[in-house]
Subunit: 280 residues, 2 copies
Amino acid sequence: MSNVLIVHAHPEAQSLTGSLKNLAVETLTAQGHQVQVSDLYAMHWKAVADAADFPQRKNANRLRYASESGNAFATGTQPADVVAEQQKLLWADAVILTFPLWWFSAPAILKGWVERVYAHGFAYGIGPHGGERWGDRYGEGALAGRRAMVVVSIGGREPHYSERGVNGRLDEILWPIQHGQLFYPGMDVMPPFPIYQSDRLSEERWVEVAAAFKVRMENLFTDTPIPYRTQNGGHYDGQQVLKPGLGSGETGLRIHLAQQGDPVENLDSAEPPPTALARA
Amino acid sequence: MSNVLIVHAHPEAQSLTGSLKNLAVETLTAQGHQVQVSDLYAMHWKAVADAADFPQRKNANRLRYASESGNAFATGTQPADVVAEQQKLLWADAVILTFPLWWFSAPAILKGWVERVYAHGFAYGIGPHGGERWGDRYGEGALAGRRAMVVVSIGGREPHYSERGVNGRLDEILWPIQHGQLFYPGMDVMPPFPIYQSDRLSEERWVEVAAAFKVRMENLFTDTPIPYRTQNGGHYDGQQVLKPGLGSGETGLRIHLAQQGDPVENLDSAEPPPTALARA
């Protein structure tokens, strides 16, 4: 059995997003998994990354957030709420984000969770930089070996988010989150679970959505992740640019998905790199 | 002479982002423009969209943020900070966002500005929905006739954000902001001004960056916008899907840029639609 962290960002407990979060807890618990929920609105999560996060400054004259977060992480002077979330992430075998799509990205409170919890030295700025390596990221990092998944309720209609839909493809809209925030620190990202026209869901459609979501939760640890190319797996050159010949036939950001016929992965290690925080 | 609103999101006044904001004010003012700055950190902007935004609820039992924001907008019961920002947007002929790229999107405080200021009935949910029209958005809307521009400082290196760079192309990373938050309510979006490796900028490079930025500010009202396709200009079908034959030869989200040889635009009107707030 495994550990699952749900990071939930919706201001209304009775919302569809809230119902999906509850169903996730129920389904995963019934399977014997341990589940923790970070309900950001209910926790009154501090959304804004600012000087108040660092009572003991390395440089009192000028705030460099990355530098101070690295210093606080290294010296054990991080805010208690940040430490608690980092420990939950290290405890987890899978991390699920549940949120409504607001203006084509996550609610500010969830973005602020990433900004504050992903300290320098924890989620980025680790591992050797040089040659074709550029740190332990995109498939490697402190959170390697974990799974992640986005569960997102969307007010608009599905065709608007389709391959040629006016809003852009959902996978491209979610790129900053799925690739930049979940895959970056090392997690394997499962395909997202979107619910369209979420504010006019009929009882009948809820039954269908809930059934489909339950299956996704039951298969969380066996479904196949999105095959993002690892940064240090031989796909990118010393400038971190995709090597010639790779990604052919694909469009846009999908060139960064591994394809049949790609060169064999040559990651230095399949193990997550050592970090200052031991895995619980 | 014109009116320019700068929405600035950085916690440190001495930052590079702060210097660019100051240079924008200086350059635009010297040209005779009126400039207002919403310095979100300095204003202690409320970043989280929540029930506290609606002391007078339409539905006290269940918070639907879009519905309550529409009600508050229509009944004149919006929070004063939200009204002030809406009035600045209506006053402005151009809107400039200045921020650091954090985890491949805008800081939470700026995302929260969009969520709270873009009320239902103000920035979305306006105009007729049906047939090939789906509201006044993407080129039409309350903010039509205005220009917008993203000024973004980025810690990473330029090749990592290039056409085939590991982070994804910058234009695709900025899509949710540029297309989804600026073009959506009607603004013409200028190409962004990114500064890479922003935390190790030498004095020499600052001189170059500042000179290039000054030119961009001087040409703010004459440079050519990103040619995003308008939603109601004949490019999209009744499902809001790009019509066959359009976007050929392009990849990913760039299929949504107008091309030579496209059918002629047939927007119903070149004028912004009427809104509840009159333009100042």
